[in-house]
Amino acid sequence: MKLPLVPHGVTVQCAETGSWRTFKPLQKKELCTKCGLCVTFCPDGVIHMTKQGIEIDYQFCKGCGVCAEECPAKAIEMELEQVEE
């Protein structure tokens, strides 16, 4: 019997969405206060807080820009993605 049911539960499977990006969030480390608002508000949950500061997972970041908009310290800037030759 084949059914479209999939056993899962150990790790979450991922399909990369980084290629969707038009604008790329770049952080200015010197301005970051590690408040974590970007981690909370990233719709996709792809910003991680580390001891060194935030880490944006560009394999999945869709470039919506919510992090830059919400950052109270203006520590994230959106930059047009460069096309790879």
Partner: protein, 709 residues
């Protein structure tokens, strides 16, 4: 004057409907037919069509309104597909009994298996005994032409039957081709206004429909059958009359190089174009082949097919559907054809091919090999080996990688929601709060389509889930909870997840009943104020003045009535917990999710959460502003954060000084139609609302679960 344009099948259908001058259109969005009624809504707002457009809350109501309008003597049009047609089902059967000549465009789409949005004929085949005429078009031009003809056939007093004009979903509905659009005057001469004599609900001409005495039922059915037979000649007559005026001829079937052909290929719908190329190539190779396309499936053209197949040796029938449980595992055309040819002295061998299910392409090479395979078979009366399946169990893999970094996450990254999606932010935090002892069910909508990845069906959420039908969030969640309890799993939290359309409109009946029964489930509604998954159609939750594709800017500017206040309605059900939340206030949201989890874990009844989740795509604002707009909704006082615990209402947040409403409205393209006076009026309404806050309208009630009487 006839105009020529490159347009989609959906737009062709809308033009066909517009030119037929329906007086009432009632419809509900469903992929892939939504475009048809979006275009019609736009025609009406731009003054190109005078009709009453009713954006109903479900397909059941769409057909209900169509039947009501037709019973009052109006010419009526609607469009739907798949699950929508299935949800109409009981009203569909009413239409032929009352002899209401409703015309309904169908963009054929797979019916629950368990879910697909692609093309096949399973949806209309499920209605093929419903007393509706069913005409299947090959291309966009034929869709337009057939809708006009359909009214002429359906409204003829010898027929008076409702008619479905079917086109293959996506393959016709969403592809563009050259279409001749006739001018209105010529169509008006061809199709005069509907003048019903048989049945009108009107005090000036009193008639009533009664529950018929028993013998009458058979008489009614017999009458419908007679009308269906009459339709056979009418479809041909109207088809050739259409030819005289517009230069395009139509009948019950279409023959392509089929005269005296030894081998016949029988097709229906959009596949025919490709099949014709196969016929040309096979003929060039010296094979004696021809093609018959079935245009009218109801009535089925028995006599014509008998004539065509009288001297034929082999027939290949291609079905884009399966009739389960008939001995030979065949399709609908196959079974009809076999019974039609029974009366022949000498019958050809018939091979059935099940192909193109769920929109799979059928290339020229497939048609050629099907025809060759059928021709190589010896004539047989048996059907055991006469059915062949193309494509079964062939799935292409998608590259999905597990990421350890996200091992603790319930909702993983890579969700195929739009960038800046408010729903995703809300659901991500809510599920993370609930933890892994949670099962959820959801219905078609942004959450459902984005959280399931493509083949081979790898879920992006680490919870067991199943998608159910649009109206069934709360009923399926109820059942899941009951089933888990029966199995001793009382601790598992069950979540019903739906958007505002699936909650305030089509899903409200089931939700209201689950609440009133005290089902211990969490109902989570993400509020983006329209049907976003089908492409921004008005829902019961769309605010005043907002643009949607079914409340377009034209003569009127956006929606002209008010949104339904569902959290308040849920509070009036006297359930233990109702809360509104916003994606701009995540700690408040997660606190409320925890409270909801506590309520259901104590088995105290339904916990309802209604979360404001802005949608950049549908509300027309940059993706970066999602959270900002959600926050402004709260800061302007438009979106009130509150919770009602056992009937006691409490504000969660009171803005110190409310910002002017215009700050919220001006950031969104959907509110561009609001005039200054309207904005002022809306501001006054918000001000008045806050005067009556904190909420006093929900009297506290005794909690019978936990307190002594």
């Amino acid at each position: 004057m006839t105009k020529e344009d490159v347009i989609s099948g959906n737009l062709a259908a809308a033009h066909g409907a517009r030119l037929s001058r329906p007086e009432v259109i009632a419809a509900y969005p469903i992929t892939p037919s939504t475009g048809i009624v979006e275009y019609l809504a736009d025609f009406i707002e731009k003054g190109r069509l005078t009709a009453d457009y009713i954006p109903v809350e479900s397909e059941h109501s769409a057909m209900g309104a169509c039947i009501g309008a037709s019973m009052s003597g109006a010419r009526v049009f609607t469009a739907t597909a798949s699950q929508g047609l299935a949800y109409m089902h009981e009203f569909v059967y009413h239409a032929h009994g009352y002899h209401l000549p409703i015309v309904m465009a169908i963009a054929n789409r797979t019916l629950s298996t368990p879910w697909a949005t692609t093309c096949d004929h399973s949806d209309t085949m499920a209605e093929n005994t419903s007393g509706w005429i069913q005409l299947y078009a090959e291309n966009a031009q034929e869709v337009l032409d057939t809708i006009i003809q359909a009214y002429k056939v359906a409204e003829d007093t010898k027929v008076l039957l409702p008619t479905m004009v079917c086109m293959d979903g996506f393959l016709i509905s969403h592809t563009a081709e050259r279409v001749k659009i006739p001018d209105a005057e010529t169509v008006d001469r061809f199709l005069p206004p509907y003048d019903p004599k048989h049945f009108i609900l009107d005090p000036d001409n009193r008639m009533s429909a009664l529950v018929p005495p028993r013998p009458w039922v058979a008489a009614f059915e017999h009458q419908t059958d007679d009308c269906m037979n009459n339709a056979k000649s009418l479809i041909k007559e109207v088809g050739s009359e259409f030819d005289k005026v517009f230069g395009r001829s139509y009948g019950l079937t279409e023959c392509y190089r089929a005269d005296d052909a030894e081998n016949l290929l029988i097709t229906m719908g959009s596949m025919t174009g490709t099949a014709k190329v196969a016929i040309d190539e096979l003929r060039a190779d010296g094979m004696d082949v021809g093609l018959i396309r079935i245009r009218s499936f109801r009535p089925f053209p028995n006599e014509e097919l008998m004539e065509h197949c009288r001297n034929t040796k082999a027939v290949a029938v291609v079905d884009r559907d399966v009739i389960h449980g008939i001995g030979g595992r065949g399709g609908a055309i196959f079974t009809e054809l076999k019974s039609s040819l029974y009366a022949l002295d000498r019958r050809p061998s018939i091979t059935n091919f099940i192909a193109g299910l769920a929109g799979r392409e059928i290339p020229v090479t497939d048609f050629k090999s099907m025809m060759k395979k059928a021709a190589s078979k010896k004539p047989t009366t048996g059907t055991d080996d006469a059915v062949e399946w193309l494509d079964a169990f062939q799935v292409a893999p998608l590259n999905l990688t597990p990421r350890e970094k996200y091992a603790e996450r319930i909702v993983g990254p890579g969700i195929r929601a739009c960038a800046g999606c408010g729903m995703l932010l809300a659901v991500r935090h809510a599920f993370q709060t609930l933890g892994t002892d949670t099962v959820f069910t959801f219905v078609p909508g942004c959450a459902a389509v984005t959280m399931q990845s493509a083949l081979p069906l790898q879920p992006l959420v680490k919870l067991p889930f199943a998608e159910v039908v649009f109206a069934g969030t709360a009923s399926a969640a109820t059942g899941i909870r009951a089933g888990l309890k029966a199995k001793g799993k009382h601790h598992v939290k069950v979540v019903g997840l739906a958007g505002d359309g699936g909650t305030v409109d089509i899903g409200f009946q089931a939700l209201s009943a689950a609440a009133e029964r005290g089902e211990s489930i969490i109902y989570f509604c993400y509020e983006n104020e329209a049907y976003m998954n089908t492409g921004i159609q008005k829902s019961g939750s769309t605010p005043f003045g907002a643009w949607t594709t079914t409340t377009p800017f034209g003569a009127r500017k956006g929606r002209r009535t008010y949104k339904k206040d569902l959290p308040a309605l849920m509070a009036m059900h006297k359930i233990p917990y109702v809360a509104t939340a916003s994606i701009a206030y995540i700690p408040d949201l997660t606190r409320k999710v925890q409270k909801a989890a506590k309520v259901v874990s104590e088995d105290r009844g339904l916990a309802y959460l209604h979360v404001h989740a802005p949608c950049p795509t549908g509300w027309r604002f940059p993706t970066s502003k999602t959270v900002k707009i959600a926050r402004l909704a709260v800061e302007t006082g438009l979106w009130v954060l509150y919770e009602v615990e056992d009937g006691v209402a409490k504000l969660s947040l009171k803005p110190k000084k409310r910002r002017p409403l215009t700050e919220y409205l001006k950031l969104q393209g959907r509110f561009k139609g609001l005039t200054d006076a309207e904005i002022q009026a809306l501001q006054k309404e918000v001000d008045a609302k806050w005067k009556s806050l904190p909420l006093t309208s929900f009297p506290p009630f005794r909690d019978f679960f936990t307190s002594e009487l």
